[in-house]
């Protein structure tokens, strides 16, 4: 299954914020976590994560910290801020509302669910 590009883009911010809410992290690890969480179905172009992270930083949702990695390279860690948590909570409410609405309507139309089951 391929997830639509717009959907991938829309879910990127809450996903990254939620992963950072679990604890500080860096680019590659965030991306790996996204892959694991979605069972590989959310396909991101690796590079695109970084402009997104920079945007979150400009909005004050995350702070950054350059540190040395175990391999001795310099690595940028991202830490979620209070504002970031606020934004995440807000996103959570929005997404819940959307999934609730979709669930309700899909439960009503039994044919759709059967079709999805066959697929």
């Amino acid at each position: 299954m391929r997830i639509d590009k717009d959907l991938v883009a829309a879910s990127a911010t809450p996903l990254v914020l939620a992963i950072l809410a679990e604890g500080e992290s860096y680019g590659y690890a965030i991306l790996k976590r996204v892959r694991t969480l979605s069972g590989g179905e959310l396909e991101w172009t690796d590079g695109m994560l970084y402009p997104l992270l920079h945007r979150l930083r400009r909005l004050g949702y995350v702070t950054t910290d350059w540190r040395s990695s175990p391999e001795g390279r310099r690595r940028k860690y991202y830490v979620i801020t209070e504002e970031g948590r606020g934004a995440l909570a807000d996103q959570l409410r929005q997404w819940s509302a959307v999934t609730r609405a979709l669930n309700d309507v899909w439960r009503g139309s039994g044919g759709m669910l059967a079709a999805a089951g066959e697929a």
Binding site: G47, M48, P51, K76
Partner: protein, 446 residues
């Protein structure tokens, strides 16, 4: 076969050349790439294969560069016009275009000057319409450069047409104060109209508004440089030709207006294409002058607080103060636009706050004096305009001071501060428009 290290180094150099990506970003991307290569190697791929897959996963460099550019438009506001999706940035070498528009402005102002008989006579319509002789060409230049469609061209033209009608149909009295105010406010209002084509036919995006602020600052610097060069040229020409019996003043009458009008467009073109020069110079200038202005503002505020404003504030001094406040605001705004938004508070931000607070104190004193004057002598067009300008500035400065203080104490992000200023920009435009449109009928064209 190249080692994977050489390949990474080459990739790095290639990415570093992309617009919008700076050295730190490349470090971060390289860390990512190395991670990916290590992981792919550990599942059995050869180094070469791992490198290729990792680079492929990183994505198309053009897309990446564009995303970075969108996010950090401040870094490269230069080449990239961020309109449309895959639209390539236009080559910076549109000098023929720029020259054509500059020549058109130069010719139009010359025709107007000859018709007006300036400088032997100084008909007020000439001064009142000055902005309309030049700025439509600047707007046209940007509309063309941004490849706007017909609808946006029309939307750009409408304010100019309205302004032309309004300014020339109002029946001003002789020696009318409102007419002088109109000739002062119209260029400002029209400058904001130029923002529309500059931003690619939209005014919604705050990042682009900041780009326009940046453009205004750089344009000003280039214009001053051109004016200085032009002054030297005129001076030398005069010194050389005067002995030959040529009346240099007559020559200057012809050259000066056209040169000044053409330079408006040439300076804009320079900002668009040769930014790297100014880019290095402009932040240095703000760095230099923001502290000096901060010291000067605080000293003046203290002096006037001690001596009491009272008699010292006559009409002329009030307008000097207004000019000073506008300059300070421009400096702060420009310093803001030149700043990397994601860094933490630095000493410069502190100094900016000092400057803003100093300006705020002065503005309050001027405002108090002005209200007293209006209380004694009543409203006139000049006093009302000055009062309005001071109120507009006061609100802006209070907001800016409050947000910078919070930013310095790390209670808020720089983004908020930037947002405040970009949200406020239309207020300035609106005020200038009100002076042009509402003031003359309000005061009976007196």
């Amino acid at each position: 076969m190249e080692s994977v290290e050489t390949q990474i180094a080459e990739w790095r150099a290639y990415v570093a050349n992309a617009t919008g990506v700076n050295g730190r970003d490349v470090d971060e991307l390289e860390d990512h790439l190395r991670h990916q290569i290590a992981e792919l190697s550990s599942v059995g791929l050869s180094d070469d294969e791992a490198f290729l897959v990792a680079v492929k996963r990183m994505g198309d460099l053009d897309d990446l560069s564009r995303e970075f550019a969108r996010e950090h438009s401040g870094r490269l506001w230069k080449q990239l016009v961020l309109s449309g999706d895959a639209e390539p940035a236009r080559a910076a070498t549109g000098w023929v275009e720029a020259l054509a528009f500059a020549a058109a402005a130069a010719i139009v102002i010359q025709i107007a000057r000859v018709t007006a008989g300036f400088p032997d006579e100084e008909p007020t319509w000439f001064e009142r319409n000055l902005g309309l002789f030049v700025l439509p060409f600047l707007a046209g230049y940007f509309a063309r450069r941004r490849q706007l469609d017909l609808r946006h061209w029309a939307l750009t033209a409408v304010p100019f047409a309205l302004a032309a009608l309004l300014v020339n149909l109002y029946p001003y009295d002789a020696d009318s104060d409102t007419e002088i105010l109109v000739s002062l406010a119209l260029p400002v209002a029209l400058w904001f109209v130029v923002a529309y084509p500059y931003m690619g036919g939209t005014v919604r995006f705050h990042e682009r508004r900041m780009d326009f602020v940046r453009f205004t600052g750089e344009w000003f610097i280039y214009y001053v440089l051109i004016a200085l060069g032009g002054g030297v040229l005129m001076g030398l020409t005069g010194a050389i030709l005067e002995p030959a019996g040529i009346d240099v003043d007559r020559v200057a009458e012809w050259v000066l207006p056209s040169g000044a009008a053409g330079a408006v467009i040439v300076a804009a073109w320079l900002v668009e294409s040769k930014q790297r020069v100014v880019e290095n110079m402009a932040p240095v200038l703000t760095m230099l002058f923001t502290p000096l202005f901060a010291v000067m503002l605080v000293c003046s505020a203290v002096v006037y607080a001690v001596t009491g404003p009272g008699a010292a504030f006559d009409r002329e001094l009030l307008s000097v103060f207004d000019a000073l406040l506008v300059v300070v605001l421009a400096l702060v705004l420009y310093g803001m636009s030149a700043r990397e938004p994601s860094t933490t508070p630095q000493w410069m931000d502190g100094i900016q706050l000092v400057a803003v607070v100093g300006a705020l104190l002065l503005d309050l004193m001027v405002l108090g004096e002005m209200i007293a004057r209006i209380g004694d002598l009543g409203f006139t067009p000049n006093r009302t305009a000055a009062l309005g300008l001071n109120l507009v500035l006061l609100v802006n400065l209070v907001g800016a001071a409050w947000l910078s203080a919070r930013f310095l104490r790390r209670r808020t992000t720089f983004h908020r501060l930037e947002r405040w200023q970009t949200t406020y920009l239309p207020v300035f435009a609106l005020f200038a428009a009100v002076v042009v449109v509402v003031f003359p009928p309000l005061f009976g064209f007196s």
